[in-house]
Symmetry: C2
Subunit: 281 residues, 2 copies
C-alpha cells in the first residue's frame, strides 16, 4: 500500500513522522503519526497504538502527549491514528455536534446508513493500520500494545478484549468503560449501529465484552479524580466490577486533582509507555 509522508521531524533521538494513505476500510484518505526511535539495522521494535478521544486528530497527542522521550528510552514505536474518517462525502452529525461523526468514530464498524460506508474505525485500527505499519516501519507485529484516552480508551479496551491475539498489552487514560451505560455511548452506538444498537453494541463496550467472556491478561487505567466527565460518561467503577467478577487484574489509579486534559495524559504517559514496554519486550 502506498504511503505519503506529510512531515518528518527528528525528535528525542528518533523520527516523528506524519503519514497519509488511502484506506480501503474507510474509503477515505487517513492521516496518522508514527514515532520510530533510533535502532540497530534490521531490528524489529514493539509498537504501541495510541487512540485519541473525541474531537482529536493524530495531531493532539503527537504534539502534546509527551511520549517520545520514554518511547525512545524503551525502544517502542508509537502509532497515533485519527479518530474518524474525514473528507468530502463523509457524513457528520446532523447538528455538527462534537460527540458523533467527524472526530468521533468510536472505533466501531458502523452498520447503520449513511455511516456504514465510511465509519469503519474498528477494522481500520485492528487490521488495516497494523498491516500498513508492518509494511513500512520496522515493527514486530507479534509485539503490539494498545492504549488511548477517553473515547480512545474505550477503543483500546474493546479492541484488546476482542483481539487478544493482536494486542498483547492494554492500558487507558480516563476511558469510557461502558458506552452502553453513558450518554456519549448511547448516541454513538445508536447512530452507528441503528435499531439493534443495544445488542450489537455489546461488541463495543468493554464491560459487556468482559461479561460476555472476553479476557485480557491485565489492564492499567489512570483516571483523574477531578475529571468533569467522571461520573456521567466514564464510570470507572463499572470496569472495576466487571474485572473483579471476571478475575481480570485491573490496576485503576485515581489521580487526585487531575482533569480530562492532555496535562493529565502527559503526566502519566511515562508510566504507560513503561507498562507496555515491560510486557512487549
Amino acid at each position: 500500500m502506498a504511503l505519503e509522508t506529510v512531515s518528518a521531524n527528528r525528535s528525542h533521538g528518533g523520527t516523528q513522522g506524519v503519514y497519509r494513505h488511502r484506506s480501503r476500510e474507510t474509503g477515505t484518505d487517513m492521516t496518522f503519526s508514527v514515532f520510530v526511535p533510533d535502532h540497530a539495522d534490521g531490528a524489529r521494535l514493539p509498537v504501541l497504538f495510541y487512540l485519541s478521544g473525541l474531537t482529536c486528530t493524530h495531531a493532539n497527542v503527537t504534539e502534546k502527549g509527551e511520549f517520545r522521550r520514554a518511547a525512545a528510552e524503551h525502544g517502542l514505536i508509537i502509532v497515533c491514528p485519527d479518530t474518524s474518517p474525514r473528507g468530502e462525502g463523509v457524513p457528520d452529525d446532523a447538528d455538527g455536534a462534537y460527540d458523533f461523526g467527524l472526530g468521533a468514530g468510536f472505533y466501531c464498524d458502523a452498520t447503520n446508513a449513511p455511516f456504514d460506508r465510511h465509519y469503519r474505525m474498528g477494522s481500520y485500527v485492528a487490521h488495516e493500520l497494523p498491516g500498513l505499519i508492518a509494511d513500512h516501519f520496522p515493527v514486530d507485529r507479534s509485539r503490539m500494545g494498545i492504549t488511548g484516552h477517553s473515547m480512545g480508551g474505550h477503543g483500546a479496551l474493546t479492541l484488546a478484549l476482542k483481539h487478544p491475539e493482536l494486542f498483547r498489552s492494554v492500558s487507558a487514560f480516563a476511558p469510557i468503560v461502558a458506552p452502553l451505560q453513558c450518554p456519549w455511548g448511547h448516541k454513538a452506538l445508536a447512530g452507528y449501529l441503528g435499531n439493534d444498537w443495544q445488542q450489537a453494541g455489546r461488541r463495543y463496550d468493554a464491560c459487556a465484552l468482559i461479561e460476555d467472556g472476553a479476557r485480557v491478561p491485565e489492564i492499567l487505567v489512570d483516571q483523574g479524580a477531578a475529571d468533569n466527565f467522571l461520573e456521567e460518561q466514564l464510570r470507572p467503577q463499572l470496569l472495576v466490577d466487571a474485572c473483579a467478577k471476571a478475575g481480570i487484574p485491573l490496576m485503576l489509579r485515581m489521580q487526585p486533582g487531575y482533569d480530562h486534559s492532555y496535562y493529565f495524559i502527559s503526566t502519566f504517559m511515562d508510566d504507560h509507555i513503561r507498562w507496555h514496554a515491560e510486557r512487549l519486550v
Copy 2:
C-alpha cells in the same frame, strides 16, 4: 496588581496555570503561563523565564515544550510570556507579515511611532513581569534564569546580558544571536527603533552587547544542524566569535538532524531545565 486566572490544570505534580493582567508597560492585557511544582509551605522557588519565538503566544511552549516533568523534579517555576502586545489599537505589520508586529515584539522597547506606545516587551519581561510573578507566586527573585527559542533566544541572551543582576543563568534554543546581521533583525529593529536603528539596536543584539562590554558567566545554546533558518537568520558562529573574544564560556551544541520546531525544543528541554536548576539552587 490584579491577576485573572484563565485556567489552572494539575500536571506533573504541580499546577499549570494561565493568567491575564493589565500591563502598565504595554498598555494592554497580557496573558502568560506559570507552572508551579508542588513545594513545602513557605518555600520560595527559583524561576525560569521562557521567551517564545515568532508567531507564538504563551500557549505553544506551554502545550508542546515538555518542560513540566523536569521542572517538577528540580523544583523550578516556569514562566512563559506572550511575544507581543495584542488587542484593539495595537499596530501590526503593514502587510500582516509574521515577522513584525503582533507575535513579533522582539523583546525590545520601541521608540518609533506608532509602535512606541505598546511595544515595550523588553521592560515588560525584565521588570514588570518578574514583579508581578513575585507578588502572586512563591518565587525567589534572587534566583531567576532566562531562556527562549529563536526570537525568544535573542530575548533571553540580550536581557541576560543587559541585566546580569536580574538573571543569574541564561540559555537558548536556536537563538537569533545578532539581529543587526540578519533579515529578521533588520526589519524588526528598523521598525521598532526608527532611523537610528543601527546604533540603538546594539542594545538589542547579543553579539553587539558583548562587543560593547556586557558579560554573563556562561551560556548554553542548542542549535539544530538541519534548521532552515540557520545560515541566514540565526548565525551561531557570530556568537561563538563574540564569546571567544570576550572570554565568555559558551557551550554551543549543534544537534545533527534537528530542525527549528518544538520537536527540537522539547528534545533538549530537560537539559536546559537542569542547566538552570544547577545554577539557581
